[in-house]
């Protein structure tokens, strides 16, 4: 296999993103194409599956097969594809609203099902596409047009939820550090089972203060823990904007229910004889 190494540009589709200038999701796109180049994947063997939202627009911008489906439903569509076509490299991607809110149930069950694929959650703590409503990760006191005095509702902790529900690889990264993000994506794809990467990805339009994240990131404050309990403790005690891989588990990936002691169609016909 002496194929020439592929370059990040080989994985860009040329379709112009709808994202605002300065959007954090550009960094995710850049890191993702770098990761694919580093893995030297054939573009036709990759599928990027998403739901709805700014972040979920990413499949069309990647030179790979893509499925831009329903709000919240990226994970079941990705799982169906991976189970049916196990030789493909499958990436699911979306924002905090898409994955943690409307798709929350699928997130939990994707973690426990542990299909061998990688989820990238671009977390900007706001609904960008619908112009600035609070998301499940928005701070309780953050003012929006919908709730000028804040939601008074506790944010959802996606990292801890992923750990408790059984994800086999859990990490947080920052879009402003694309080389680090690319490295984490490479590791996540290589790691068997369901991998979750929460990417801090600022919304410069509706959360301009998130531009400051680049000065607040605690780079690699998270490191691989020895157990889920230790990983949970690390997530709880680390600074809010910590990055790094916090969990690499060894649960075997789910590839389907396996042999169920059945008969083939031609052999099952006898069972209908009275």
């Amino acid at each position: 296999m002496n194929e020439a190494m592929r370059k990040p540009n080989d994985f860009k589709s040329g379709v112009k993103p709808i994202w605002c200038p300065g959007c954090g999701d550009y960094g995710v796109l850049s890191a993702l194409t770098k990761a694919f180049a580093r893995l030297n994947c054939a573009p036709e063997k990759i599928a990027v599956v998403s739901g709805i939202g700014c972040a979920a627009r990413i499949p069309a911008y990647v030179n790979a097969y893509g499925l831009h489906g329903l709000h919240g439903r990226a994970l079941p569509a990705a799982a169906g594809l991976k189970l049916a076509r196990p030789e493909l490299t499958v990436i699911a991607a979306g924002g905090d609203g898409d994955i943690y809110s409307i798709g929350g149930n699928h997130f939990i069950h994707a973690c426990r099902r542990n299909v061998d694929m990688t989820l990238i959650v671009m977390d900007n703590r706001i609904y960008g596409m619908t112009k600035g409503q609070p998301s499940p990760t928005t701070e309780p006191d953050y003012p929006t047009h919908l709730y000028p005095a804040g939601t008074h509702v506790q944010p959802l902790d996606g990292m801890s939820l992923a750990l408790v529900a059984g994800a086999n690889f859990v990490a947080r990264a920052f879009t402003g550090d694309p080389n680090d993000l690319a490295e984490i994506i490479v590791e996540a794809i290589r790691h068997p089972g369901f991998s979750v990467i929460e990417v801090l990805s600022p919304c410069v339009t509706f959360r301009p203060e998130e531009r400051e994240w680049k000065h607040q990131i605690a780079r690699h404050a998270l490191t691989p823990a020895g157990s889920v309990a230790e990983a949970l403790a690390a997530v709880a005690s680390a600074p809010e904007l910590s990055t790094g891989i916090v969990w690499k588990g060894n649960r075997p990936p789910y590839t389907g229910p396996g042999d169920q002691a059945g008969k083939r169609v031609q052999d099952v016909l006898d069972s209908f004889v009275a």
């Binding site: 589709s13 040329g14 036709e44 097969y65 079941p76 799982a79 016909l269 209908f272």
Partner: protein, 603 residues
């Protein structure tokens, strides 16, 4: 031609038996064994059940009709009713009408006969069923079955065959106990003077079939049709009455190299199969009304992104949780019109338990060929019915998705505007054709577009591919000639066909049109089929007449239209259809008006 169901000589070629008792008494088992024994002996027949929502200890009735000719539906009254007990009988009394003069056999310990039965019964016989069961070391349902078999003239060898098939896996001891119970029931019956009733109940000898007959349920046949047609990925969430379809499929799929994945909900089910079908694997889910409602957004995605999927929807009483264990034909509207936007897709309906095999396989063929979702509207009645059938041939469907070869970068157009509207689909793994399938409106190259021209072109393309397809003659079963026609869809075909048979014997010829393809509606074929018809009776198991309104919206219907409809769980019966035809003739209602709409009275 009396409208009152009566015990008469016709019972010799068809006899109906109901076995009732509280859940757990084993009346369903008894009914299934009666059917199996009759099938073994060469009769035709069906068995259905009506149960309450309780998991254990509710009410249950097993309804069996045996005949010397193929039957797909119940008669509207039972000649023999056997009660192991009367607990909660009132909950399904309306579904189990005793024929005037019919025979009731009950356990001595069961208490008083419900008053409506007392009035109709020709004879009520109180036998020590449970006592005999105890003495024989068996169960009361076996004793009841022994009684029934003796009255109907089921050969003991066939009864023993059924008992062995049923219990062999559980050990010889259980087989012997059940045989002892069956004998005890026979002996109890033979001690009584029932000569008059036996004359009415004893079936004519059947013609011995060439090959052993099958016993099939609609759910099994839908599963078989799907796997036979090439479905290899199923994702589904448990729901009554579709769960046994899924349970049947899991082992068969695993043996065929496919899989069934239990999803976390119906939203996941439909999206999982969209994902697997996007990957090129023919895919299916099965559900019932509430699940279908949850899948609507996903079905719209499958329409827009042109991803073939099959949804077998086993209808039950609605709306909301409705009557989960009982049948109705009321998901027609949501199946046709449940999606937002304009979303052309396929809707099909099997006509019988056995026909679930062909119709589901055909749905897979059409979905794959047209790259569109197909909804199959089965219902609880045929899905969980056990029907005796001649061995069914596996249908000759040709399942072939038009796929794209590898191509040069940026040359591939996933949604190319072809003449027939079907565009070659590149499957992941095909070099050069990388594209993103999208629920956003798009251009030919799959790139999202909100341009009016693109929207119009894609809407037209997605409609055209369904409109212009040649569906052949399978869109309906059309039989008979006459100025009166009865049209129906799905499982109402059984009673309609039987009514036509009875009427033919009475010298009345009618045309019957039993529709299998509901969307796209084959308007031309339908109008051609109805040419010359002056009175059209529209039969459906719906309170509001969904089918009638659908036909009215799209077709020029005959001068007079009569709506024969009522809600589930009582199905439309053959006697109801027959009476609607007789009334239409007798009333001389051949009117010139094209807006005459009458509601046929129902019992």
């Amino acid at each position: 031609m009396s409208d009152t169901p009566q015990d008469n000589a016709a019972a010799r070629e068809s006899v109906s038996v109901a076995i009732t008792g509280s859940g757990g008494a084993g009346v369903i088992t008894a009914g299934e064994m009666l059917l199996a024994a009759a099938a073994h002996a060469g009769w035709h027949g069906i068995q259905t059940r009506s149960v309450g929502p309780q998991i254990r200890g509710g009410e249950a009735v097993s309804m069996v009709r045996l005949a010397t000719f193929p039957v797909e539906a119940h008669d509207d009254a039972f000649h023999l009713l056997v009660a192991v007990d009367w607990r909660n009988f009132d909950r399904f009394a309306a579904e189990v009408l005793l024929a005037q003069g019919g025979l009731v056999i009950m356990d001595k310990a069961a208490g008083d006969v419900p008053p409506p039965l007392k009035e109709r019964a020709g004879k009520i016989l109180s036998l020590p069923l449970s006592k005999a069961a105890k003495e024989a070391g068996s169960r009361v349902n076996m004793v009841a079955l022994g009684c029934i078999a003796a009255l109907l003239g089921i050969p003991e060898s066939s009864l023993e065959h059924a008992a062995r098939r049923r219990f062999a896996a559980k050990g010889e001891k259980l087989v012997e106990a059940s045989l002892a119970g069956l004998r005890a029931g026979r002996d109890l019956t033979m001690q009584e003077d029932l000569a008059d009733h036996i004359a009415n109940l004893r079936l004519d000898r059947p013609e011995k079939p060439d090959k052993p007959r099958w016993i099939v349920s609609g759910n099994q046949m839908a599963g078989l049709g799907a796997v036979h047609a090439g479905v290899r990925f199923v994702a589904a969430y448990p729901i009554t009455p579709a769960s046994d379809l899924l349970e049947w499929m899991t082992p068969v799929l695993s043996a065929e190299g496919g899989m069934l994945v239990q999803a976390e909900d119906e939203l996941a089910s439909i999206n999982m199969i969209i994902g697997s079908s996007f990957g090129g694997v023919p895919s299916m889910t099965a559900t019932s009304g509430p699940g279908l409602a949850l899948m609507m957004e996903g079905l719209g995605l499958a329409v827009s992104a042109e991803i073939p999927v099959v949804v077998v929807n086993v209808q039950r009483g609605g709306p909301s949780t409705g009557i989960p264990t009982k049948s109705e034909q009321t998901d027609l509207n949501i199946a046709l019109c449940g999606m937002h936007g304009e979303a052309p897709h396929l809707v099909l309906a099997p006509l019988s338990a056995a026909d679930c095999l062909f119709t589901t396989a055909w749905a897979v063929e059409l979905a794959e060929a047209l790259q569109a979702p197909a909804i199959v509207l089965s219902d609880q009645k045929i899905a969980q019915m056990k029907a005796i059938s001649d061995p069914l041939p596996l249908p000759a469907v040709k399942v072939a998705r038009k796929v794209s070869e590898a191509c040069a970068p940026h040359a591939y157009k996933r949604y190319a505007l072809t003449e027939d509207g079907v565009s070659p689909m590149a499957l992941p793994g095909t070099p050069g054709c990388m594209y993103t399938a999208d629920g956003l409106e798009h251009g030919e190259n799959a790139v999202p577009s909100s341009r009016a021209e693109d929207h119009a072109a894609m809407l037209e393309k997605r409609a055209r591919k369904l409109r212009n397809h040649d569906y052949g003659p399978a869109w309906a079963e059309v039989n008979g000639e006459g100025e009166i026609a009865v049209i129906c869809w799905g499982s109402t075909a059984g009673p309609v066909h039987e009514a036509a048979r009875v009427l033919a014997r009475e010298g009345i010829s009618i045309r019957t049109v039993s529709m299998r393809l509901l969307s796209p509606l084959p308007i031309e074929a339908l109008e051609e089929t109805l040419a010359g018809v002056k009175t059209l009776i529209v039969a459906e198991n719906s309170h509001s007449g969904q089918f009638l309104h659908y036909l009215r919206a799209w077709c020029d219907l005959p001068q007079e239209v009569i709506s024969l409809k009522h809600a589930g769980p009582r199905p439309i019966t053959a006697p109801e259809v027959r009476r609607a035809v007789i009334d239409a003739i007798g009333g001389g209602r051949m009117q010139e008006s094209n807006i005459a709409l009458k509601e046929a009275p129902v019992s």
